[in-house]
Amino acid sequence: MALKNTTEKLDEYQERLKHKKAKPISRKHVEKVIDKLASKHDDLKAELKAASKPSKRDRIRAKVKVVEELQSRANWLLEKVKKSK
């Protein structure tokens, strides 16, 4: 999981928050994004099941991969937010 950039962005956000140039992130915000990602993941899986054309299946698989990457980042962020509270 490529977390280097995410960590940097989190640090940059915390710096802005310190200077009151960002709005605080709550656990609820991250959980809502996680829910949206889960729902997208389910939709893509259903789409993959229904697709027969190899090129279409390949494109959907790539999308699933991206959503899974985003899900793992979101779970990581949730842990960070929980710890910071």
């Binding site: 950039n5 962005k9 956000y13 809502k32 790539a62 991969k65 990457e69 979101a74």
Partner: protein, 606 residues
């Protein structure tokens, strides 16, 4: 006539000052009162971008709710004019519907009558200036504070202080005036009296731009015995007619919806005035009856006038609310929606610039308007039709079948439908930047401007593509047609995904979906070079065709990236905390590279 009005008013004032010291005091009282109202408006505007708009947004979905909102807002702000200006601004920005706007305006007309109660019940019976002085002294300390909310509170306090001080001077002036002159000798009875004093009340309100000020003037003059009760009633009716001028002025820079609202207000007041003048005896009887029931002394004409003022507007609301649908039908007939000129901005008007939230909402809608024009032009530029590709089950097949050239002067259409709108958007964002708006709203407006810019770049890239796309796809020419169709299909898929995002519920969607497309674009871009090399090696395309395609695919990927970037900004969550989460999670270019290196794992996904 308009040019003459100002010198006439100034000359009348100077003449009055020359003749009477007391007139000076009354005029100064009116001026201080109006100044107080301006400060109140400024104070409430400091809270703009927050509570005011959020409440307005959420409490106008039914007629009773919008009536209630208008009533409460005008009672708290003591100005139906400010409520009218906000309503027209929100209506022009498309934030509320006409029916809600009319409801707010009606409610505000009742709410603003509470001012007369305050003056008649409190202002004349208590030494009001005793409250004004400490309020003014305290307010000035608050006005110089850094926090805009504290500053806003300071302006509101100062506004109220000046209102009280203005009432005090008007009262003093009339008390002294009545010792020297007796204006009641000009009193008129009968129908003529009603009509003449109604006209005077209207004109006074048009000049002062405030029915509230006219009401206070009438109540204080009547308390000093300078105006008879009957004539005061006609003055109040006149003030109610004259107050529509504020809404008319506010609607001048507004779009057709703002003008419809102003006309609704004029109709409301005129109909009520006609009914009130016709049934004047019954109304006076009703005022006496109500006054008796609520314990108002028979000779307390100031409070009776406040009762009349409230009754007048409540009666108007009672008459007009059941006729709301007919009223709207009439407004729609009288002020028709202008024929849509999609090359002209539809939401960015001066009227929306009164309030930050309406500015952001108008900007968002205008950028969407630009995107609609742009996607249509992009699809037609590639000889595709949006309705066909949006409904396609097999995008590649639909694109392959769409061979007929769309008759289009893409350069002219770009100038008319994209560039003209972008200029208006850019200009609006620059004006917004010069205003002292809340930082988050300025950031959102700039973000939307950047989104518009990316959209414009995407269309420009498609302009470069159009010639070869048409040349190679209008009839089958073998491999070169296939690869150009492949390119068209990739762009079509981006348009489809953005359309899906647009149609989904804002609570369910996320701009993070677009990361899937960004990865896809990078995959396709990388595959293109390998594919072309293979095709040249196999002799399926010649070097000239390959060069053309490589250049065109560069434009195509540029367009796709720009469309994604525009959508990413446009569909970012509007709640700031959620937007921060999306920003942290979204993939950067390096992340996409890393993901692409794992592409071999895709076979395991099922």
């Amino acid at each position: 006539m308009k040019k003459l009005l100002l010198p006439i008013i100034l000359a009348a004032l100077v003449l009055g000052f020359w003749n009477s010291q007391d007139f000076q005091e009354i005029a100064a009282g009116v001026a201080i009162f109006l100044f107080g109202m301006l400060m109140l408006e400024d104070g409430f505007k400091q809270f703009s971008g927050g509570v005011l708009e959020r409440v307005l947004d959420k409490s106008t979905d039914t007629i009773p709710k919008s009536l209630g909102f208008g009533f409460v807002a005008a009672t708290v702000m003591q100005s139906s004019s400010l409520v009218s200006v906000i309503t027209i601004s929100f209506l022009s920005a498309g934030l509320i519907k006409l029916i809600a706007g009319i409801g707010i305006m009606f409610g505000a007309d009742i709410g603003t009558t509470t001012g007369a109660w305050l003056v008649a019940g409190f202002g004349l019976k208590v030494k009001i200036s005793a409250y004004a002085m400490p309020m003014l002294a305290l307010s000035i300390v608050l006005v110089f504070q850094k926090s805009k909310y504290v500053r806003g509170f300071g302006f509101i306090l100062a506004g109220l202080g000046f209102l009280f001080l203005g009432i005090h001077y008007m009262k003093e002036g009339f008390d002294a005036f009545s010792e020297q002159f007796d204006l009641t000798k000009f009193a008129m009875v009968g129908v003529m009296g009603l009509l003449v004093y109604t006209a005077i009340g209207s004109m006074a309100t048009v000049v002062m731009q405030s029915s509230h000020a006219t009401m206070v003037l009438v109540i204080t003059a009547m308390a000093a015995g300078q105006v008879s009760y009957e004539n005061a009633i006609a003055l109040v009716i006149g003030a109610n007619i004259g107050t529509t001028i504020t809404a008319i002025i506010a609607s001048l820079p507004a779009n057709y919806l703002g003008r419809r609202l102003a006309l609704a207000h004029v109709i409301f007041k005129l109909v009520t005035a006609v009914v009130a003048l016709t049934l004047i005896n019954q109304m006076v009887w009703a005022v006496d009856w109500i006054s008796d029931k609520v314990g108002i002394r028979p000779d307390d004409y100031a409070l009776k006038l406040a009762v009349f003022h409230t009754m007048f507007n409540t009666m108007g609301v009672a008459i007009m609310t059941p006729l709301m649908n007919q009223l709207i039908a009439f407004l729609e007939r009288t002020i028709p929606e202008p024929e849509l000129d999609i090359s002209q901005p539809q939401y960015l008007s001066r009227a929306v610039e009164s309030f930050p939230v309406s500015m952001e909402a108008a900007m968002r809608k205008e950028v969407k308007h630009l995107q609609d024009n742009a996607t249509k032009l992009i699809a037609h530029g590639l000889n595709l039709h949006r309705h066909e590709i949006y409904a396609a089950d097999d995008v590649a097949k639909t694109v392959e079948d769409s061979r007929a050239e769309v008759e289009l002067d893409i350069d002219a259409k770009f100038e008319q439908r994209v560039k003209a709108l972008y200029s208006a958007i850019f200009d609006f964002a620059s004006r917004a930047g010069a205003l002292n708006l809340p930082r988050d709203i300025t950031d959102h407006i700039y973000g939307l401007r950047d989104s518009a810019q990316s959209t414009v770049h995407a269309v420009k890239a498609i302009k470069h593509l159009r010639h070869n796309v048409t040349e190679y796809t209008k009839y089958p020419q073998g491999t070169i047609t296939d690869i150009y169709n492949g390119l068209r299909a990739e762009i079509a898929r981006i348009l489809i995904e953005i359309n899906k995002l647009d149609r989904s519920d804002p609570d369910d969607r996320s701009m993070l979906w677009l990361d899937e497309e960004r990865v896809q674009i990078e995959r396709d871009r990388k595959n293109t070079t390998r594919m072309i090399e293979g095709l040249i090696r196999d002799g399926k395309i010649d070097a000239e065709e390959a060069t053309s395609f490589m250049t065109d695919s560069g434009y195509a990927y540029e367009a796709m990236s720009d469309l994604i970037e525009a959508a990413r900004v446009y569909y970012a969550d509007t709640e700031d905390g959620m937007a921060e989460v999306e920003r942290i999670l979204m993939l950067e270019d390096e992340d996409i590279e890393e993901l692409l290196s794992e592409v071999g794992d895709l076979e395991n996904i099922d």
